[in-house]
């Protein structure tokens, strides 16, 4: 990974290169001012099947110095090793990343008109990517909170009160309240929920006495050293009444929890590991399979087939649409596996029931609370408030466990249909929120 460097005036010059570190790109963006969500580089998407023609045109017609992803082991491009290349082509996905300077010099910007016979489909600015589960908003809120705490420490009265961001209402999180979970008479008893994520803090005091079945697919112990998996599992399956002044954050509090670790403690994994997790969850007949993860990829036949197999076995896979949007300017398409037709795709909404700015669109089936979501976190922290379609997904999975308990006929396709039929309508396009906000029975 790129090393942190001291800010220098050279940052904006360095940003012209593809080998520039993310830190330097950010410094350059901050130096430029204005829209700091963009890196200054461009992504060229080629028309379907035109990646080779695109590569040729960049090289011979436009005179770019081009690096090809196929020249790297496993096509794992190391940007530090791209040297003086002005463009990196990824033939598998039909996309090229070009440096801002090189693109501008050749008139290839997002505003440029594209000739009809060109292999190029579109030219778009590249955006900085925020970790799933954390939206840029939260980052700013965290910063504000820190600033207010310092301010309060300096002795200014009233500052601490302003730091309050999302108070829990009546002992329950806003998300559970919005999904009508508290009045539900169901608890997920008899339902197996598989959460395929970074694992779980198996010693979390609020899960003492719960039934766990665990398996790791990534060569690390199931114990979650990341936090993401403990948070998503907490929302789907957490306790009804945590001790002390902690609001209720869990939905299916009597579910049997299947923890499938398919992402490492660093937050990474492969499609093969995800599929192994799905395979395990189907073999165990988990009625609900929750996947707060996504790869930026078109619909994958392997995931679509896995979704079909799951439905046939009475299991429903529910997956995060992804956090790659920057609304209203950019609405990124749902990633894999959520974009497979046999898998339920979940968008995120905030406490005002508006679409979260980061929430992906297109193939969306339903929405869940995904901004400022309070849930469990590995010891010693115990709780954390984060955002993302990763957080919206377990709200749908938890409600699915309640519906599955309410009627043994609600399995697979029938369970999916019930979730859609009972969702609360929202005044937004189906491509943003699907059928609407998930509701508990």
């Amino acid at each position: 990974m790129a090393k942190k460097k001291t800010p220098t005036k050279k940052a904006s010059v360095a940003a012209q290169r593809l080998s520039t570190s993310t830190d330097d790109l950010l410094l350059a963006a901050l130096e430029r001012g204005g829209d700091t969500s963009k890196t200054g580089r461009y992504l060229i998407t080629f028309k379907e099947g035109a990646a080779e023609a695109g590569l040729q045109s960049l090289q011979s017609q436009k005179g770019f110095r081009v690096a090809d992803a196929r020249d790297f082991e496993n096509q794992a491009v190391s940007f530090e090793q791209t040297g003086d290349a002005e463009a990196v082509v990824f033939p598998e996905i039909g996309v090229a990343l070009v440096s801002g300077e090189a693109a501008t010099a050749r008139g290839m910007t997002a505003e440029a008109t594209i000739a009809e016979d060109s292999p190029v489909h579109s030219i778009d600015p590249e955006y900085f990517v925020f970790a799933a589960g954390i939206s840029p908003n939260d980052y700013l809120k965290g910063f504000l909170r820190a600033a207010q705490t310092i301010y309060a420490d300096l002795g200014e009265p009233g500052a601490a009160e302003q730091a309050e961001v999302t108070p829990a209402v009546a002992g329950v999180t806003w998300g559970l309240s919005a999904c009508k979970v508290p009045p539900s008479s169901f608890n997920g008893s008899g339902i197996k929920v598989a959460v395929l994520d970074t694992g779980f803090d198996l010693g979390h005091p609020e899960f003492v006495g719960r039934s766990f079945v665990t398996n790791s697919f990534v060569g690390q112990p199931v114990q979650d050293l990341h936090g993401h998996g403990t948070h998503t599992t907490g929302t789907a399956c957490g306790p009804q009444a945590p001790a002390g002044p902690i609001p209720r954050y869990g939905i299916g509090f009597r579910t049997q929890i299947f923890v499938g670790k398919v992402l490492t403690n660093a937050g990474g994994g492969t499609q093969a590991q995800s599929l192994a997790g799905i395979n395990w969850a189907i073999a165990n007949r988990c009625q609900v399979i929750s996947m707060s993860l996504r790869a930026i990829a078109p619909p994958q036949p392997s995931y679509t087939a896995a979704g079909t197999a799951a439905l046939a076995a009475g299991c429903l896979i529910i997956a995060a649409a992804g956090n790659d949007s920057h609304r209203p300017g950019l609405i990124a398409p749902a990633g894999a596996p959520a974009n497979s037709p046999t898998i339920m795709s979940v968008a995120a909404i905030d406490s005002a029931l508006n679409v979260a700015i980061f929430s992906n669109g297109g193939k969306v089936d339903i929405a869940g609370p995904g901004v400022n979501v309070f849930s469990s976190w590995p010891r010693p922290t115990l709780h954390n408030t984060i955002s993302g379609t990763s957080m919206a997904t377990p709200h749908v999975s938890g409600c699915a466990s309640l519906w599955a308990q309410s009627n043994p006929a609600l399995r697979g396709t029938a369970l999916r249909a019930k979730l859609i039929a009972t969702a609360k309508h929202l005044p937004f396009p189906a491509s943003d929120v699907g059928a609407g906000l998930v509701q508990a029975p």
Binding site: G268, I278, A305
Partner: protein
């Protein structure tokens, strides 16, 4: 720059043939089989990219795709 080597692949099977038979044939066609996932109908492993067509021609194979990595970012990192 590194040379082209075997790359991780995800193979989807149709279910018309027993998956272990398909896996056997895939092995003969150049796939280093890693997992045979009966419930999802998937065989994973690695192969040279130029062998992809041979793998596709194995009876019972529906799709051969490169593995797509998943990354949710490191814990607590605001930007990654």
């Amino acid at each position: 720059m590194a040379k082209k080597t075997k790359q991780p692949m995800v193979i989807t099977v149709s279910g018309d043939r027993p998956i272990h038979e398909v896996a056997h044939d895939l092995r003969a066609a150049g796939l280093d089989v890693d997992q045979v996932l009966e419930f999802t109908g998937t065989v994973t492993g690695s192969a040279h990219p130029q062998n992809a067509e041979r793998l596709r021609s194995v009876p019972g194979v529906v799709d051969v795709s490169p593995d797509h990595p998943i990354d949710i970012g490191p814990p607590g990192a605001p930007i990654s």
